[in-house]
């Protein structure tokens, strides 16, 4: 950084990702509020802590494992090539700590590595980490009120620090094998975050089972709706707000997109293909609008589904929101929301799946459909600036959507939840489920309050014996 223009570019990029992280933090605040708002009072504190502890556990595991996976796994490994060297992203790299970019001490690094990554590694890592929290949080909402926190946290680490970042390495990396061979395009992570997390949640829900009382003896589902609609409302608004950071974090803010000798700077998507913040702002808001309007109509004005429909609308259009026209984004969002709403209730009735917050529908089905639709809508567009890579096509995106939802989402979720079930640690005992996870705290509080009342009564009696 020996001239002002270079310094401006590097420090702007560093600051840009830093800001996205602050925005994305709000997603997690929103998820916590939303989840607690959807929970019965007897489970509030446990539900809050179950989600909150995603933050430290996924953070440390993503530091140790996840970041390196993103850069080491674009070839599979062993699908189209070997494991790639990524010494700057390994947990024991000097570039995973405070660094000014001078010559490296570690032999595995070069001077180019330190110059390129010293100021970007931490903020870029954090931007991806916030995606990891989101992936785990999506699963968290679906399984409330009956999963054991310890079991959930193991599953959260698996989806947040391994499986999602494998899919990012495959399909959300400029040189991922899915981009190279399938022409996979998923600019704002319809499949990469939402389909995989929804699929993983569905995989967990099957061995986990429904909450006691969710289904009557004849199998009819009962509505255990949001217990605090205001908390749910604020939570979802915060998720919307954080989603702006999520979108911005999917971009590279400033990059020379002109191949050959020329120089043209632009924002790019994660595949290094040009887009603009203006384009994604138009499409973000129009898909939010389309999703909310469709959800309001199809749910007959249900607040919970209208807000969730806004999210599902964005998610349904996200795969192609770098390139769509805003009105296309709006119609895609609306169509996706109608389908996922119907699908949610059909799956609930047919398979007796108790998805407490509709996470599988809002994230999983909407993300899957979003990727599939992008394959048709963007057919023939380049998936990457590299002209040797496949172009976007319906089959490539359909296979990609299946890899996200089924291969890296549903199958691992089902497998690991089944293992935890066999170990007898997946679900809380039915007695505790009925009494509430906060039973010990509630009982303790009742005893303490009783003791306080008695102490106050004795004090009053001592000072004014005639009044008692």
């Amino acid at each position: 950084m020996d001239n002002e223009l270079t310094a401006l570019g590097i420090i702007f990029t560093e600051f840009y990702y830093w800001v996205t992280v602050v925005f994305m933090f709000l997603i997690h605040v929103g998820f916590c509020m939303y989840e607690v708002g959807a929970t019965r009072q007897k489970n509030h504190m446990h539900t809050l802590m179950k989600n909150t502890m995603i933050i430290p556990l996924v953070t440390v595991s993503f530091y140790f494992v996840g970041w390196w996976v993103y850069f080491a796994f674009p070839n599979g490994p062993w699908i189209i090539g070997d494991l790639l060297a990524a010494p700057f992203a390994a947990a024991n790299s000097e570039l995973m700590g405070a660094h000014l970019g001078g010559p490296p001490v570690q032999g595995s690094l070069t001077a180019d590595d330190t110059a390129a990554w010293a100021r970007i590694n931490g903020v870029f890592w954090a931007a991806f980490l916030l995606f990891s929290w989101t992936a785990a949080s999506i699963v968290s909402g679906a399984v409330i009120e009956r999963i054991r926190s310890s079991a959930f946290w193991i599953l959260a680490v698996l989806i947040g620090s391994f499986f999602w970042i494998v899919d990012a390495s495959w399909g959300w990396h400029p040189d991922g094998w899915m981009v190279q061979k399938l022409g996979y395009h998923d600019a704002y992570a319809s499949g990469v975050i939402h389909a995989i997390a929804g699929g993983f949640a569905l995989g967990v829900l099957i061995p986990l089972g429904a909450r006691i009382g969710k289904f009557a003896k004849d199998g009819t589902p009962r509505n255990i709706g949001p217990r605090n609609p205001w908390l749910v409302t604020v939570g979802l608004f915060l998720i919307y707000t954080g989603f702006w950071g999520f979108y911005a974090a999917c971009n590279i803010p400033m990059f020379n997109v002109q191949g050959g000798d020329g120089v043209v700077f632009s924002a790019t998507n994660i595949y290094l293909a040009p887009t603009t913040l203006s384009a994604i702002t138009l499409n973000f808001l129009m898909s939010l609008a389309g999703g909310m309007m469709a959800a309001y109509m199809v749910s007959k004005g249900d607040a919970f589904w209208t807000y969730s429909g806004g999210l599902a609308g964005i998610i349904g259009a996200s795969a192609g929101n770098d390139l769509y026209h805003p009105i296309q984004a709006m119609f895609i969002a609306a169509a996706v929301v109608v389908i996922i709403y119907k699908l949610h209730f059909w799956v609930e009735r047919r398979f007796k799946i108790d998805d407490a917050v509709g996470a599988v529908a809002v994230h999983g089905y909407a993300g899957f459909l979003g990727v599939v639709i992008a394959g048709f809508m963007l057919w023939g567009y380049p998936a990457s600036p590299n002209p040797e890579y496949a172009t976007i096509n319906p089959l490539g995106n359909f296979i990609g959507a299946c890899i996200m939802f089924i291969v890296l989402g549903f199958i691992p979720g089902f497998t690991f939840a089944t293992i935890l079930k066999k170990m007898g640690i997946l679900r809380i005992p039915p007695e505790i489920e009925i009494l509430g996870l906060d039973i010990s705290a509630t009982e303790l509080q009742a005893h303490e309050e009783q003791a306080m009342v008695e102490a106050e009564r004795r004090a009053l009696q001592a000072s004014h014996p005639e009044t008692i």
Binding site: F64, G102, S149, S150, R211, I212, G213, K352, P430, I439
Partner: protein, 77 residues
């Protein structure tokens, strides 16, 4: 005595790399960190099992529970 590679800011800043103290200790730090992380899961799992067992003993009433469980579809729990 100095724990880090930086003793003053008057030299060539472009030659400064890692800023944290005890450069070279990264791998043992990672091992210690992984033990802390995995150990946390193990301790938490054991503690939660013990707490749940105790709560069932303390608050669980098998007759009342059976009545509630009988009113719901046993295959769908």
């Amino acid at each position: 005595m100095a724990t880090g590679n930086v003793e003053n800011w008057t030299g060539n800043i472009a030659d400064i790399g890692a800023l944290y103290p005890f450069v070279g200790i990264e791998t043992p730090l990672v091992i210690a960190g992984v033990v802390f992380w995995i150990g946390w899961h193990v301790v938490q799992l054991r503690r939660e099992s013990a707490e749940l067992d105790e709560e069932v003993k303390k608050f669980g009433n098998s007759d009342a529970m059976r009545k509630v469980l009988d009113s719901t579809d046993p295959d769908k729990r």
